[in-house]
Amino acid sequence: MQLIKPGINLDFVGKIKYAITFSVILIIVSIGSVIYHGGLNPGIDFAGGSVIQVKFSKNISADQIRGALKSTRLQNSTIQQFGTNEFLIRTSESFSDQTVLAANVEQPLAAAFSKDFEIRRVEVVGSKVGADFKRKAVIAVVLSWIAMLIYVGFRFEFRYGVGGIVALVHDVIITIGAVSIMNMEFTISILAALVFLIGFSINDTIVTLDRIRENVKLNPKRQLRETINLSINQTLSRTVLTSLTVFLTVLALYLFGGAVIRDFAFALLVGVVIGTYSSIYIACTIVLMFENLQISKMKRTP
């Protein structure tokens, strides 16, 4: 079976202008959404605070819970549905004292709903740890970018590395944008998804770049523009298939992995699609731009 016919020759490079416009719009929308929401919506991992996951044995609405928690220290908490009859109660306060927690959650809920609930998860992160995680998160993302830049630069050429890294920054911004548009919390799982995507998305870029280099060797006289287009077409089948299989697994994760992991899977879903697109368009565009600027000549030997 073949999804992409051999010898396919789509004019990718010719559509670069549209691609750039498209990407710029996505980035503007992403950054706009983050600004509109007053920055990212950090989870307790980064902001500090408490999350309490409660499961009820009968049908209950978030408003009922809010009513039950009125006049406790949790009255300003956000309450979010989390699966059937299950809710997340979130507050910026760090309840490290169990008795305080009991007085503000367990007892009021018991008063309102008798014993028809179960506290399934309690997470409390102090602001100190939150600040720590924040710092580490930024470091992790930036370091992975730099590592990829160095690796690709070392294996290929500096301008390829730059092409790759621009694509990665592009992917991370748009994925964060999607998380922001959905008004999801930015948790440590989302961060893990971003870093995984950085490692994954560079793959398509590497495969394409590898083919470009090979084709340059085979036919040094051809224009780079054409070589790039040919290489994208030659690797297109693989790019699409791989993205498809990864997309399938992530989709399974999103649909069946449960509420705890759904945000993580969502970020991956967006990231896989954007990553595939960007390695075709963004990475190669940057390489071409370098060529047009006459900054360096393509290496003739690997």
Binding site: A102, E118, A140, F196, S237, R238, T249, G257, L268
Partner: protein
């Protein structure tokens, strides 16, 4: 690498058998005797998010330990200076961890230096500024000693917490230092988080102090606390209502004895009403001290103070020999048992703060396992079907590699006692997606080569060789990215990073090596005219 197909086949077989060996206990819990003796014992270790339990990050307040040391030194220093006839006044401990004093004359600084050199190598003069009638001097602990003390404090705390958790009886707890002054505690399957936290976080500093009955408590409560005294509060339960209130005591600040003199502590049922107390037994030096202290203070009240709270303050009726004492205070059986544990394990050298706490109930854990396994099965199945439909026989070969990959990752997790978390399961599923990439790269390349009219053998050779470098590239980038997540410390995310790294390494073996063995086996043993790819 290895030319001989037999050798490569044998390697594949050994790896598969190895997987089986390490995974048997995970999938089959009852292995009949005598076979169980020869089997690997450990199941895959599940993270707290999957089996339920409590994850705590504690911070040891090492500054407090430093402060306490300076406090002791300042008291000792007063006496030493008086002994050496150095004239000083207003010697007191300042925040943070410093001592200040005024020396009466210029010559006295020499005297102070001599005393410090001889008896207090840990202290150094931080600043000395002249005053009208002498000098104002501040002292501090030198950096080396302070660093040493902090390190010791953390080590000692770690030891104490380990002791407490061991005595509490939790299976497979994990207690490890993290960074300079943090301790990570993981308690799987804990039922009562509050109790566990109390047990771990309680300083449990037991002190015996005299009650100051000569000065007026009321006067002290109004703010006129006599020199050398402190006000402490005691929990007093109203016998009839059971309501606990607090009542103040005026105590001499100096502690006569501490919990360090204890040999053991245990729960006792005090009387026929079933009141529970904690019985203390002092070590030999402690028994001697206790006898002396009680002997010297007959008719006075001796307060038993735990973490600054007065538990009881009985009047000393007579000299008590034999080195036994009791703490009473309306305990429940559980409270008494936990108190005995913390007293036996000893006091923490410094207070601890809980920085991070994550508790997952067992029901959520099993839900997560169920959903994680479900997602993995469905995701893998989708990929497996896709490969067969798209690549036919070659797809089936890749599927074999894929399934081997999943089991290989699980086996490695079991063998190295690594932890499987919910994001770890996600990581496993993701590596399935990525591992397939290696086979897709190879197969697409083989198809290309076949289209140019090459023979099956040559097409296979070229396909594998050309794709290999690219596969290495893609795996290395994946591993490097995942490695950056390990710095987030123990927990679900590290589980994700570890599983992903193992998965990628395993896929290098299964997707490249194993599939090639199968292809080579088929092409040598069957006369294939057309490759099903």
């Amino acid at each position: 690498m290895f030319k001989s197909l037999k050798l490569r086949g044998a390697i594949t077989l050994i790896v598969c058998l190895g997987c089986l060996y390490f995974l048997i206990p995970t999938f089959f819990s009852n292995i009949p005797s005598p076979w169980d003796k020869y089997m690997f014992k450990e199941k895959i270790h599940l993270g707290l998010d999957l089996q339920g339990g409590m994850h705590l990050v504690l911070e040891i307040d090492t500054d407090k330990a430093l402060d306490a040391m300076v406090e002791r030194l300042s008291n000792d220093l007063k006496e030493s200076l008086m002994d050496s006839k150095v004239r000083f006044r207003n010697l007191e401990k300042m925040q943070p961890a410093k001592i200040s004093m005024e020396l009466a004359g210029a010559d006295e600084e020499k005297g102070l230096e001599n005393v410090l050199r001889e008896h207090y190598p840990d202290l150094e003069i931080e600043s000395a500024s002249p005053r009208e009638d002498g000098k104002f001097v501040t002292l501090r602990i030198n950096d080396k000693r302070a660093a040493e003390l902090k390190k010791l404090t953390v080590e000692h705390s770690l030891e104490t917490i380990r002791n407490r958790v061991d005595q509490f009886g939790i299976s497979e707890p994990e207690i490890i230092p993290e960074g300079d002054d943090r301790i990570l505690v993981q308690l799987p399957g804990i039922k009562d988080p509050e109790r566990a936290k109390n047990l771990i976080g309680k300083t449990a500093l037991l002190e015996f102090k005299l009650v100051d009955d000569e000065n007026s408590l009321d006067e002290a409560l109004r703010g006129n606390i006599p020199e050398g005294d402190v006000i402490a509060y005691g929990l007093r339960a109203d016998q009839s209502t059971g309501v606990r209130g607090s009542s103040p005591y005026l105590l001499k600040d100096k502690s006569l004895m501490t919990g360090a003199s204890l040999e053991t502590a245990k729960v006792q049922i005090a009387d026929r009403f079933g009141d529970v107390t904690v019985g203390l037994k002092f070590n030999s030096q402690g028994a001697v001290d206790f006898e002396r202290i009680t002997g010297e203070n007959i008719r006075k009240r001796l307060a038993i103070v735990l973490d600054g709270v007065v538990h009881s303050a009985p009047v000393i009726q007579e000299r008590i020999s034999g080195g036994q004492a009791q703490i009473t205070g309306n305990f429940t059986m559980e409270e008494a048992r936990d108190l005995a544990i913390v007293l036996r394990a000893g006091a923490l050298p410094a207070p601890v703060n809980i920085l991070e706490e994550r508790t997952v109930g067992p029901s959520l854990g099993s839900d997560s396992i169920r959903q994680g396994v479900m997602a993995t099965m469905i995701g893998s199945l989708l990929v497996i079907l896709f490969l067969i439909i798209y690549y036919r026989l070659s797809g089936a070969i890749a599927d074999v590699a894929l399934i081997t990959n999943i089991f290989l990752v699980l086996a490695i997790l079991a063998a190295f006692r690594a932890t499987l978390t919910l994001p770890g399961i996600a990581g496993l599923l993701l590596t399935v997606g990525v591992a397939v990439d290696a086979n897709i790269l190879i197969f697409e390349r083989i198809r290309e080569e076949l289209r140019t009219g090459k023979t099956i053998r040559i097409a296979l050779d070229t396909g594998y060789n050309r794709a290999f470098i690219t596969i290495i590239d893609t795996h290395i980038t994946g591993i490097v990215a995942a490695a950056f997540l390990i710095m987030f410390g123990t927990g679900p995310i590290k589980g994700f990073a570890v599983t992903t790294i193992i998965g990628l390494l395993a896929s290098l073996f299964t997707a490249v090596f194993v599939t090639r063995v199968i292809f080579d086996y088929i092409t040598t043993n069957f006369n294939i005219k057309k490759l099903s790819i």
